[in-house]
């Protein structure tokens, strides 16, 4: 561990030996102010959004004014004091539906992204560490990458039938490939480092090298990928549910939109309280995870790290 760089303007350390960026940039700063680094702010905004959604999901029964499965008022009521976002076609409170829907949407997003990350990381590791095998595996990854996304998603989910589990499987199946690519390139680079060669020359087994030297430094990258994949998975879940290919009886943001569409809210004034709020929530969740993922990636990914 080398000592901390002396520059006070760069207080935090990543633990990776480096020289002060400021010191090197100093001469240019005289002529033009360096662009401000918003990464930290972006990360905080993302974390706040994601954090609030997670809190809403956890405490849904406490926050929601009604049980979303019961008839809380007259069907198709416009917003009122009793029902801030009105009621749906069978008199369920839309606000409560959305609050409880946060659970399903986040759960599907996180589980699908975790599964995708596991698969992607495993394939990326193997593909990067064993380049011969990798060159074959990566052609498979290429195939998955070029598959037309939404049509395949629709075909698969129509074929497998409607359930939350199937939705998760289908989404995971489609989003693991980019992760595999990113991880593989990192592993390719790591496995040629001098200390890996040194370890190998001392007869270290592959499993040991992967565990000791490759995986720890790949793992952070996978976390960044995971957060970005969650954003994609939430969007996909909403698309599927909206199209009626998810489980329409499971309360999620997408299924609220599905019912809005099925019961004509797009053609009546009800779109203002039945279509816009779930749409905004989906956007917010995707944005939150995307911002967080971006910030993490900036910190973690060696290719993007500012130098």
């Amino acid at each position: 561990m080398t000592p901390k760089p002396p520059s006070p303007s760069h207080p935090k350390t990543t633990g990776i030996p480096t020289v002060s960026f400021r010191a090197r940039l100093a001469p240019r700063e005289l002529t033009r102010p360096a662009p401000r680094d918003y990464t930290r702010l972006i990360g905080i905004v993302g974390a706040v959004i994601v954090g609030s959604l997670v809190l809403v999901a956890i405490f849904a029964p406490l926050i929601a004014p009604y049980d979303p499965t019961i008839r809380a008022g007259a069907p198709f009521s416009p917003p009122s004091a009793a029902h801030l976002l009105g009621t749906n076609d069978v008199g369920q409170d839309i606000l409560s539906e959305l609050i409880f829907g946060t659970r399903v949407s986040l759960m599907v997003g996180v589980v699908a992204a975790s599964a995708a990350m596991l698969v992607g990381t495993a394939i990326g590791l193997v593909g990067g560490y064993f380049p011969r095998v990798g060159s074959i595996i990566m052609r498979g990854v290429d195939v998955v990458l070029v598959l037309p996304f939404l049509p395949l998603l629709i075909v698969l989910s129509a074929y497998l039938g409607r359930s939350v589990l199937n939705t998760i499987l289908v989404i995971a199946f489609l989003i693991w490939a980019p992760t595999a690519r990113v991880i593989r390139s990192q592993v390719l680079s790591l496995s040629r480092r001098d200390y890996v060669t040194a370890a190998r020359s001392m007869n270290a087994r592959d499993g040991y090298i992967i565990r000791r030297h490759v995986l720890p430094r790949t793992f952070l990258l996978a976390i960044g990928e995971f957060v970005a994949a969650t954003s994609a998975a939430i969007l996909l879940e909403s698309s599927l549910s909206f199209l009626g290919l998810g489980d329409p009886l499971q309360k999620s943001w997408g299924s609220v939109l599905y019912w809005a569409q099925a019961r004509g809210a797009f053609l009546t004034p009800a779109w203002q309280w039945w279509v816009v709020p779930p749409g905004l929530l989906i956007m917010l969740a995707a944005l939150g995870f995307a911002l967080l993922g971006y910030a993490l990636e900036q910190k973690i990914n060696p290719r993007l790290r500012r130098a």
Partner: protein, 554 residues
């Protein structure tokens, strides 16, 4: 596109439609507006053109290749039958001037009117009628071959036709004479495979108020009035049928003035929106469509009549009508028959009483012994799966509400949504009840003909898979079989009513199925464009009667 006859006005109509679409499209935000298209006085009794939105896959409009219920109704514009049902659904003389039935109910004698002619100018004769019967008998399987399956022979004497039946058929007038499209012998006698015959001006010849002049299956159809029609010149010059992919598109097209009527009911929540727009309105009327709860009566727990009775008592039909259909439906009669039907028996009671339902289950020994809120039957928790078709939003909501209602009587219901094909595969495999079934409960629906002909009530309960071809719940009872047989053959109106009442009482008691509700017909249309719509009770306004002069209607 297949053009049958050359038409001059085609391009002008296209441009008028396009302009109307453009104008309507601009204003389609909900603001009141003039409806596009030709708009004479409001509620006009005649019109230049009426444009209809239709759905689903449709073949050529011939008796052998039409596909949907609307296709069948359109067929009635081109072809005539011997009898024509009136607004009350009762068969009246049409091509036949009168019908005389022999004492034994086996011979029907009908003089054929002499002023009817085919579209190509040939006169319509008794020979054509006799030919049609035998041609359908020898033709491919289908609705019309079934309709003539009970016919033994047809004889022609001058302009009079007499039909000999194998056994008395109480539904013969309604299901055969009033449905069978009469075909021109000089066209079809040389064609062996009618379902594969070329479709062009040489074969599309009928005797009805309209000629089919353009046919582009899947896209559009165009019908031109036949001014020589024996019942008088039709009230609308041209009828265009435009195929739509879904309701939303059709409703948007109606609101922007691109079409004048939708051939299928709109969903209840559209009614205030359409009625609120100037120039548009919704024709609402009772319809013989039935939404029901089906279960496999040969499978536990539904094999126990006490369970079926408890489910019936626990079903809050009023709530389904008010919350799912927003009032645009009639609560179901436990005895199956629609209250508007002449065979409805008022003495049958349909009760909603959760306490009575719970008491019934307690009495039957199905109790909740472990206190988890779910009853047990033979040590197994009372848990069942309720299937609903995912593309039908209203039926899915019904399933959801039913699951909540049955939780009140200690039955745990898991709702599963399936696509139509998977659903049919479980509930009505191969559309043949002999192929069995594999489901607990399902929200199901029967179309209007099952109520329009009271004889079909027997088909719901008869244990013989051929006679009980609608018995998707696998119900078996000798008493029901006997009543169904009587209903098939008894043609005396009073005796028939009595048999129907007995069968209704049996259904209400034994509950081979649970009638939930009868959705009303809700036909969104442009009241500016045409006002001559005539609904046949229980069957809606898309029919021949809407287009023939009021004084000529039967």
């Amino acid at each position: 596109m297949k053009r049958i006859y050359r038409r001059r006005s085609w391009s002008t109509i296209v441009s008028a439609t396009a302009i109307a679409a453009l104008l309507g499209g601009c204003a389609a935000g909900g603001a009141p507006q003039e409806s596009g298209g030709p708009s004479p006085d409001a509620g006009a009794s005649s019109a230049e053109i009426v444009r209809m939105a239709n759905f689903g896959q449709e073949g050529n409009i011939t008796p052998h290749t039409y596909e949907t219920a609307t296709g069948y109704n359109l067929l009635g514009l081109v072809y005539d039958s011997l009898l024509q049902i009136d607004e009350a659904g009762v068969p009246q003389p049409w091509l036949a001037e009168e019908v005389t039935t022999s004492e034994d109910g086996l011979t029907y004698t009908m003089p054929i009117r002499d002023d009817a002619a085919w579209h190509d100018g040939e006169p319509l004769t008794a020979e054509d009628v006799a030919f049609s019967f035998t041609y359908y008998q020898d033709g491919p399987p289908g609705r019309f071959r079934t309709a003539v399956s009970n016919v033994e022979s047809v004889a022609v004497d001058g302009e009079t036709v007499s039909v000999q039946l194998l056994e008395p058929g109480a539904s013969f007038e309604l299901r055969t004479l009033a449905e069978l499209p009469i075909l021109p012998e000089h066209i079809w006698s040389s064609i062996d495979a009618p379902d594969e015959a070329p479709f062009d001006e040489s074969t599309s010849v009928g005797s009805g108020p309209y000629r089919l002049v353009e046919s582009d299956p899947g896209t559009s159809y165009s019908f031109q009035a036949n001014p020589e029609y024996f019942a008088g010149a039709p009230t609308v010059e041209e009828i265009r049928v435009i195929q739509f992919a879904n309701d939303a598109g059709a409703v948007a097209a109606l609101r922007s003035g691109e079409i004048d009527i939708i051939t299928r009911s709109v969903t209840p929540e559209q009614v205030p929106v359409l009625n609120g727009q100037q120039g548009l309105s919704v024709l609402e009327g009772p319809e013989y469509v039935t939404t029901l709860l089906a279960f496999d009566t040969q499978r536990a727990p539904f094999s126990d009549v006490a369970v079926r009775q408890a489910i019936n008592l626990a079903t809050d039909r009023e709530l389904l009508v008010s919350d799912v259909y927003l009032g645009a439906a009639i609560p179901g009669n436990a005895g199956w028959v629609h209250p508007e039907s002449p065979f409805y028996d008022e003495s049958i009671e349909t009760t909603f009483d959760v306490d009575a339902a719970n008491a019934l289950l307690d009495e039957a020994g199905i109790t909740d012994s472990d206190g988890d809120g779910v009853r047990e039957l033979d040590g197994e928790a009372l848990e069942v799966e309720l299937l609903a078709v995912s593309s039908n939003a209203l039926r899915m909501r019904i399933a959801e509400l039913l699951a909540a209602q049955y939780a009140e009587i200690g039955m745990r219901v898991e709702v599963a949504s399936l696509d139509q094909e998977a659903f049919d595969q479980l509930v009505w495999p191969e559309y043949d009840v002999a192929a069995g079934r594999n489901y607990d409960m399902a929200v199901f629906g029967w179309s209007a003909p099952t109520q329009a002909d009271i004889g079909q009530m027997g088909a719901l309960v008869d244990s013989d898979p051929t006679l009980g071809n609608l018995n998707i719940t696998g119900y078996r009872s000798e008493e029901a079989d006997a009543l169904a047989a009587e209903l098939r053959t008894e043609s005396d109106p009073e005796a028939r009513r009595a048999v129907a009442a007995e069968l209704q009482a049996l259904i209400a008691e034994e509950l081979p199925l649970i009638t939930l509700l009868y959705p009303n017909g809700l036909y969104g249309h442009s009241s500016d464009a045409y006002g001559g719509w005539t609904s046949i009770t229980g069957q809606g306004p898309i029919n021949k009667l809407s287009f023939i002069p009021a004084d000529a209607r039967p």
